[in-house]
């Protein structure tokens, strides 16, 4: 029985014990504990007395988490370089990554859902549509439904962010980065090392430029446009969506930088480059989310 299947199936690598997951669990606990405390202190919304340990605990735990990720993934890279991984293992990683990205898609879907629900239902209802005439007439008779919602029911005002300045440039940058990454990927498959390294680093650089421009955009919004997290539902959805996207671009850029270093070290071969593929998928995912953002947050 076994010989026959052994020929068809290389053996699947089941790692020995590993200390990193439990380290990660402890770190996560203190990230959460310190983080909640820090948020309460720094926003003054809850009286936490004189305690001021939250930020410190959070930072320390975050450092442990980063260290843990390095060591854990270091183990994985080492095992991979040692040739312990079969093709089946590779498929596990790939499928795992794709399902992880699916879960990320659903995370963004929650915020897009909120945006569409607000625009489609909430704002018109606040303006008295449907059977909501009395809400409008009695509670907020001044309220005028519109999008971007520049005046909220309680009178907070702000300005809408146009699409054709920085956002359009950023769209072009991300689209270009998708293209450079594809060139790099093809170079990898053609075993063209130099092109691989150049185009991967270029993609990471485009990611950094994108982030820099986004920082400028936020600065402009906060200091000159009066557009903040606190300026009603328009600011809430704007910053939540673009902010989480920016966070993902940051992660993706770090991913690309690590990949560039590994490219330079010659870690990847034409056949064996799961990590590279994962990074590329992640980057394309971030890119697609941006296109939706550009349409629904900026353009429409």
């Amino acid at each position: 029985m076994s010989t026959e299947t052994e020929e068809k199936y290389e053996s699947y690598y089941v790692p020995e014990q590993s200390p990193w997951p439990i380290v990660g669990a402890v770190a996560l606990f203190f990230i959460a504990y310190g983080g909640a405390n820090f948020i309460q202190q720094s926003t003054d919304t809850v009286d936490t007395g004189d305690a001021s340990w939250g930020g410190l605990v959070f930072m320390a735990a975050l450092a442990v988490m980063i260290y843990m990720v390095f060591r854990w993934w270091g183990d994985v890279i080492k095992e991979s370089m040692d040739g312990l991984y079969s093709a089946q293992m590779d498929r596990s990683f790939k499928q795992g990554m794709l399902w992880f990205i699916s879960s990320e898609v659903m995370f963004f879907a929650a915020f897009f859902g909120a945006l569409l629900y607000v625009r489609q239902f909430v704002i018109p209802w606040l303006g008295g549509e449907g059977n909501n005439m009395m809400t409008h007439a009695i509670i907020w008779p001044e309220f005028a439904p519109q999008w971007p919602l520049t005046t909220t029911p309680d009178g907070t005002t702000t300005t809408g962010m146009g699409a054709w300045g920085l956002p359009a440039i950023n769209t072009a940058i991300l689209l270009t980065s998708s293209w450079t990454l594809t060139i790099a990927h093809h170079a990898l498959k053609a075993n063209n090392r130099q092109a691989l390294l150049n185009y991967t680093s270029l993609t990471a650089l485009l990611g950094i430029i994108f982030l820099a421009l986004q920082v400028m955009e936020y600065h402009h919004a906060y200091t000159e446009m009066g557009l903040t997290l606190g300026s009603g539902i328009y600011g809430s959805t704007f910053f939540m969506l673009t902010g989480f996207h920016g966070f993902h671009v940051t992660l993706g850029t770090i991913f690309l930088i690590v990949l560039s270093i590994r490219c330079a070290k010659g870690h990847f071969t034409e056949k064996h480059h799961f990590a590279y593929e994962a990074g590329a998928w992640y980057w394309h995912f971030v890119d697609v989310v941006w296109l939706f953002l550009f349409i629904f947050v900026y353009l429409m």
């Binding site: 029985m1 076994s2 026959e4 299947t5 052994e6 068809k8 199936y9 053996s11 699947y12 790692p15 020995e16 014990q17 590993s18 200390p19 997951p21 439990i22 990660g24 669990a25 402890v26 996560l28 606990f29 959460a32 983080g35 948020i39 309460q40 809850v46 936490t48 854990w72 089946q88 596990s92 990683f93 499928q95 795992g96 399902w99 879960s103 898609v105 659903m106 995370f107 879907a109 929650a110 915020f111 909120a114 629900y117 909430v122 704002i123 209802w125 606040l126 909220t152 029911p153 309680d154 907070t156 903040t228 997290l229 606190g230 009603g232 539902i233 600011g235 809430s236 910053f239 939540m240």
Partner: protein
């Protein structure tokens, strides 16, 4: 095949073994079950008589909230993941779960997440008190300071669930032994595959919901605040987009369990295997478009009320297919009634009662009457306790011989079953009546007219609680001193775990995949 395994505490802390991790999940969920159960006892003690007896209303609210949260996220969900860990690799002929280190991480996050959640009892303002559904603005504007710790605790549980689900899906898609085609998989594997899909789709939405809560609480956003152009009702939409699939996440694996057990003790093949698969998939897909049946009373355009009412009732069709198939499997079988079978039959009957009250609640016009009454509490306990919990219990009795190599005492098992059966009905059946008569849920005191029903329910609850301690004793006795189990303990059992492995199953199984014809 060596049975060597690491020892000491690091065996459990560092483990990458699906059996170790499965056991830890199961024990963890049982501890949570006892903690959540203790809170239920406080609730029922307070409700034994009208008037305020033991606790203050503020504390009562914390009890109902934490009871619900702990039972849902701490007891039921991890118990199902524990079963998945133990069983899926053995059932499909895989050496382990696909990503063993991540598997360990998924588990170990949970004890920390619940420490975080439970520590909120010690904080100023007490534990969360807004119900397990944490509706805004109760949880935003009016939530106690511990709400922020709750939010991050939910994030941790979500991370754990998503990683666990990814592991299950990848294992099922990529690790099956040659010849184990999808339509040959045991139904338990199928139901878990679909459950894992649901988890990946909705846990991130839950994460999004609590994130919006957090920013509303502290960073001035107005997602759930109409004054800023948001809407508290939107909270309910987003929450229930997660919440309704969540109830199937809790019950589908239990469907899978009874679909293994009923054929074994009927000594017949499962009736309508492929229709079971399609029914499970339809239930899962429909579960994405019914969420607002929890919101009939809060207000929606009439088209919405109608749509969600009809979509909800549609779910009764595939569910009916399943119940029919279970009954048809038993039809003309040579039945015996060992403990796992008893729990499974009770599952079919009592879950169906819960399903019927569900159809009643699905009718928008009458739900205006039932909403937020004890009728709802009766409904969801009928699907959760004799549903999800009986399903897990049946699984533990059925596979214990395979896991430990020891048999439980059949008399003890039967006593556990009959006491559970009697008390679960005594506890939850009267709640239908008090609910129909108008008794609201989440309330520490009530009108005199509900006194009798509540007294019966409380007596049942105390009995039900004690019976679960008896379950613990039965299991420990079996592990410590049970009779040695046979390789194939149940003559009607099928599947790789019974046909190809000894009892107890060795530490590492199927290092090379078996051939399945």
């Amino acid at each position: 095949m060596s049975d060597h395994h690491p020892t000491g505490i690091t065996r459990w802390l560092y483990t990458t073994n699906h059996k170790d991790i499965g056991s830890m999940y199961l024990w963890f969920s049982f501890i949570m079950f006892l903690i959540g159960g203790a809170m239920a006892m406080v609730i029922r003690a307070e409700l034994y008589q009208p008037g305020l007896q033991f606790v203050q209303p503020e504390f009562f609210n914390q009890m109902t909230t934490m009871h619900g949260l702990i039972m849902v996220f701490g007891a039921v969900m991890p118990s199902m993941v524990g079963l998945a860990n133990w069983l899926i690799p053995m059932m499909i002929g895989a050496p382990d779960m696909a990503l063993p280190r991540m598997n360990n991480w998924s588990f170990w996050i949970l004890p920390f997440a619940f420490t975080l959640l439970l520590s909120s009892f010690l904080m100023e303002g007490g534990a969360p008190n807004f119900g397990w559904t944490f509706y805004a603005p109760l949880s935003t504007t009016y939530g106690p300071p511990s709400t922020d710790f709750f939010i991050l605790g939910v994030h941790m549980m979500g991370i754990s669930s998503i990683m666990g689900a990814i592991n299950v899906i990848v294992t099922v898609f990529n690790m099956r032994a040659p010849g184990m085609t999808l339509m040959k998989m045991p139904l338990f594997v199928w139901t878990w595959l679909i459950t894992a899909f649901l988890l990946i789709m909705v846990m991130p939405v839950l994460a999004g919901t609590v994130t919006m809560m957090l920013t509303d609480r502290h960073f001035g956003t107005s997602f759930f605040d109409a004054a800023g152009g948001g809407d508290p009702v939107m909270f309910q939409h987003i929450f229930w987009f997660f919440g309704h699939p969540e109830v199937y996440i809790m019950i589908l694996p239990a469907f899978g369990v009874v679909s293994e057990i009923i054929p074994a003790f009927s000594r017949k093949k499962l009736f309508g295997y492929s229709s079971m698969v399609y029914a499970t998939a339809s239930i899962a897909l429909l579960s994405f478009i019914v969420w607002a049946h929890h919101m009939f009373a809060v207000g929606m355009p009439v088209a919405g009320e109608l749509f969600f009412m009809i979509a909800t009732m549609l779910i009764a069709v595939p569910t009916g297919v399943k119940v029919f198939n279970w009954v048809a499997t038993m039809w003309q079988g040579s039945l015996t009634f060992e403990t796992p079978m008893l729990f499974s039959i009770a599952f079919v009957i009592l879950f169906t009662i819960g399903g019927f009250s569900g159809v009643m609640l699905a009718m928008a016009p009458v739900d205006f009457q039932y909403h937020d009454t004890y009728f709802v509490v009766a409904h969801f306990h009928y699907v959760l306790f004799p549903g999800a919990i009986f399903g897990t219990t049946a699984a533990v009795y059925y596979w214990l011989p395979k896991w430990t190599g020891k048999m439980y005492n059949e008399t003890s098992g039967k006593i556990h079953f009959w006491l559970s059966m009697i008390f679960v009905n005594l506890t939850f059946f009267p709640m239908h009546f008090s609910g129909l008569a108008g008794m609201p849920r989440r309330i520490p005191d009530y009108n005199m007219m509900f006194a009798d029903f509540n007294m019966w329910a409380s007596i049942g609850a105390f009995g039900l609680g004690l019976t679960q301690v008896y379950f613990l004793v039965t299991i420990i006795m079996a592990i410590r001193g049970g009779k040695k189990a046979d390789e194939k303990q149940w003559d009607g059992a099928t599947g790789l775990e019974w046909d190809a492995l000894p009892s107890p199953a060795p530490y590492h199984t199927f290092s090379t995949p078996p051939k399945v014809d």
